[in-house]
């Protein structure tokens, strides 16, 4: 298939983002029609837009961008279309870090403890993956390493839940784990955005190295790529972006897995060419998902993390069936 022209793709993604951002501000249990925007003082619904929906939309954009790019970068690095911060256990490790701060009640005293713990958890997770990939970076070792990280962190989370000092702590942890953009404020935006921007900036510098990795690690090194530098730029970048995302929204899986896949037929398989489109595409996926959960007619709002998992699992299955031939 011939890839579509870059400018057309970017234009399409940007238009989709603008439209979705608009809908994200207007749509929900309470619809805020256009005329409210024109005369803000007269209508109390203005507060809904500014204090609830605007931070929610901004977070959706930032977290989607972070997860989409993390997925594209991890797939490029591992040369494995099944890679994503969720599948490889990076998000789970970030969640474990965050849960530990919730468990000890540190967040009430030191508000930045949670993002720091989440980013640290993510960094430990990526570091373990990189160490394992240093010796044998086969598809199987990566998926197994991810499974181990996922098991390890879910055991840690379960331990924290079972030993929780009081039911409120349990409630807080469970509620947070499910992953959602609901009821977020500008405080979360100011925590996450700088870390996400920094992480994405680092990841974007790895494009040429990821391209060269198409020829494998030996091929990339023979082209003058320093694998050590690439590995650590990528590890820190993914940890910052994915860790900060988990810190403010909990675990939202499958965005990083799905986004590069949807874009690959449009931009071609070269990993470096997927990076910027995945930023935009991830934001589109998360915003669209968040609008859908808001509009789902249930008593309480469906958690975004839950909805993404419900949509993502079948996608993962199809991918696995298609890949079965190549990895068997």
């Amino acid at each position: 298939m011939r890839p579509v022209s870059r400018s057309l793709l970017y234009a399409g993604l940007l238009v989709a983002l603008l439209l979705l951002s608009g809908v994200s501000l207007i749509a929900g249990k309470v619809w805020v029609p256009w005329n409210v925007w024109v005369s803000p003082e007269a209508d109390p619904r203005w507060a809904i837009v500014f204090e609830l929906r605007l931070p929610r939309t901004l977070l959706g954009l930032a977290v989607g961008a972070a997860l989409g790019l993390s997925g594209a970068v991890l797939q490029g690095y591992t040369r494995n279309p099944l890679a994503d911060p969720g599948v490889l256990g990076v998000s789970a490790m970030a969640a474990l870090g965050a849960v530990l701060t919730l468990y000890y009640g540190v967040t009430a005293v030191v508000p930045w403890a949670l993002p720091v713990a989440a980013v640290s958890g993510a960094l430990i997770g990526v570091a373990i993956l990189m160490v394992l990939s240093g010796s044998a970076s086969s598809l199987v070792t990566f998926i197994l390493a991810g499974a181990i990280l996922n098991i390890l962190s879910s055991a840690g989370v379960s331990l924290a839940l079972s030993l929780a000092p009081n039911p409120w702590a349990v409630n807080e942890i469970v509620d947070w784990l499910m992953g959602s953009l609901a009821d977020r404020s500008f405080e979360e935006v100011t925590i996450a955005l700088p870390l996400i921007v920094l992480g994405c900036g680092l990841m974007l510098t790895t494009g040429r190295a990821l391209d060269a990795l198409t020829l494998g690690e030996v091929g990339a090194r023979s082209l003058g790529i320093s694998m050590g530098r690439t590995r650590w730029t990528l590890a820190v970048g993914v940890a910052l972006a994915a860790g900060a995302s988990v810190a403010v929204t909990g675990v939202i899986g499958f965005v990083g897995l799905v986004t590069p896949h949807l874009l690959r037929p449009l931009v071609g398989a070269r990993p470096g060419a997927l990076l910027v489109p995945s930023i935009l595409g991830g934001a589109v996926v998360v915003l669209a998902g968040d609008i859908l959960v808001r509009l789902t007619p249930t008593a309480g709002e469906v958690k975004l993390g839950v909805a993404m998992a419900a949509l993502g699992a079948p996608f993962f299955l199809v991918l696995l069936l298609r890949l079965r031939r190549t990895i068997a």
């Binding site: 040369r79 040429r208 391209d211 060269a212 990795l213 198409t214 020829l215 494998g216 030996v218 091929g219 090194r221 023979s222 082209l223 003058g224 790529i225 320093s226 071609g268 398989a269 070269r270 990993p271």
Partner: protein, 256 residues
């Protein structure tokens, strides 16, 4: 004239010595073939000479500068390496793959018109222009091997080190590849190849290095390198050097 050399080069993996005390000096502008039985250390030697493997002892140097002391990007500009079993991870177009050869030369601005011209020339030289836009997965093994040769040429290297570049090519394309290596050497590029086909080594190269058990057994011009005695010691075979209509031939008679 550029010189690629190694001095007292040794490589150990655990307790096993893969190479021991190998000293060589290879000049550019010639085709040098490294031959030897399976497990003799050919690939290991080649990757040391390519600066991709740190030897356990001794050193490999390019123009008397240790390869480990040259920045990876600078090394990659001068020296191209074709691994024996190249990995191609993604289903990209042949041209995209060949363009990767320009990686060490491309600046922050990305590809220039000159880069594209060089890539076109590399494709023409390796005879792969016709499948520029084919996805690499759809190419045959031989076509892919030629695409990878074009990838190496796209970097306009001073040296081309290739591990079994003729394996998987049919006889006609083997001859094409051999002629290409010859032409590149005549243009001043240093060609170092490992080969299994001894007759091809005789016809293609200016110099043959015979490795056995991690040491150099012979290092001579083709006319004398593959003597019956050397072949017996290296491969454990009884063979004679004859002459066919197409050039020298190694006729293997039996195992000794």
């Amino acid at each position: 004239m550029s010189v690629l050399s190694c001095t007292d080069l040794g490589v150990r993996i655990g307790q096993r010595a893969i190479l021991s005390a190998v000293s060589l000096s290879i000049e550019a502008g010639r085709v040098t073939a490294i031959v030897g039985p399976n497990g003799a250390g050919k690939s290991t030697l080649l990757s040391c000479l390519a600066g991709l493997r740190e030897p356990s002892s001794g050193l490999a140097a390019l123009d008397s500068v240790a390869l480990s002391a040259i920045k990876p990007r600078d090394r990659a500009r001068r020296l191209a390496f074709l691994p024996q079993t190249p990995e191609i991870a993604w289903s990209v177009e042949a041209r995209t793959l060949i363009e990767l050869g320009r990686t060490p030369l491309i600046g922050a601005r990305g590809q220039t018109a000159e880069d594209r011209t060089v890539v076109d020339r590399a494709m023409a030289a390796a005879n792969v222009s016709e499948f520029e836009h084919r996805i690499v997965d759809t190419l045959s093994g031989g076509e892919r091997a030629r695409v990878l040769i074009a990838r190496a040429l796209a970097g306009e290297p001073q040296w081309l080190l290739a591990d079994e570049p003729l394996a998987g090519l049919d006889p006609a394309h083997q001859l094409d590849a051999a002629a290409l290596f010859r032409r590149l050497a005549d243009e001043g590029i240093g060609i170092v190849v490992t080969l299994h086909d001894l007759s091809m080594a005789l016809r293609l190269s200016d110099r043959i290095i015979v490795l056995a058990d991690g040491a150099v057994l012979a290092d001579e011009p083709p006319a004398t390198a593959l003597s019956a005695e050397v072949l017996k010691r290296a491969y454990g075979i009884e063979a004679i050097l004859t002459r066919g209509p197409g050039g020298p031939l190694i006729d293997v008679i039996r195992r000794t």
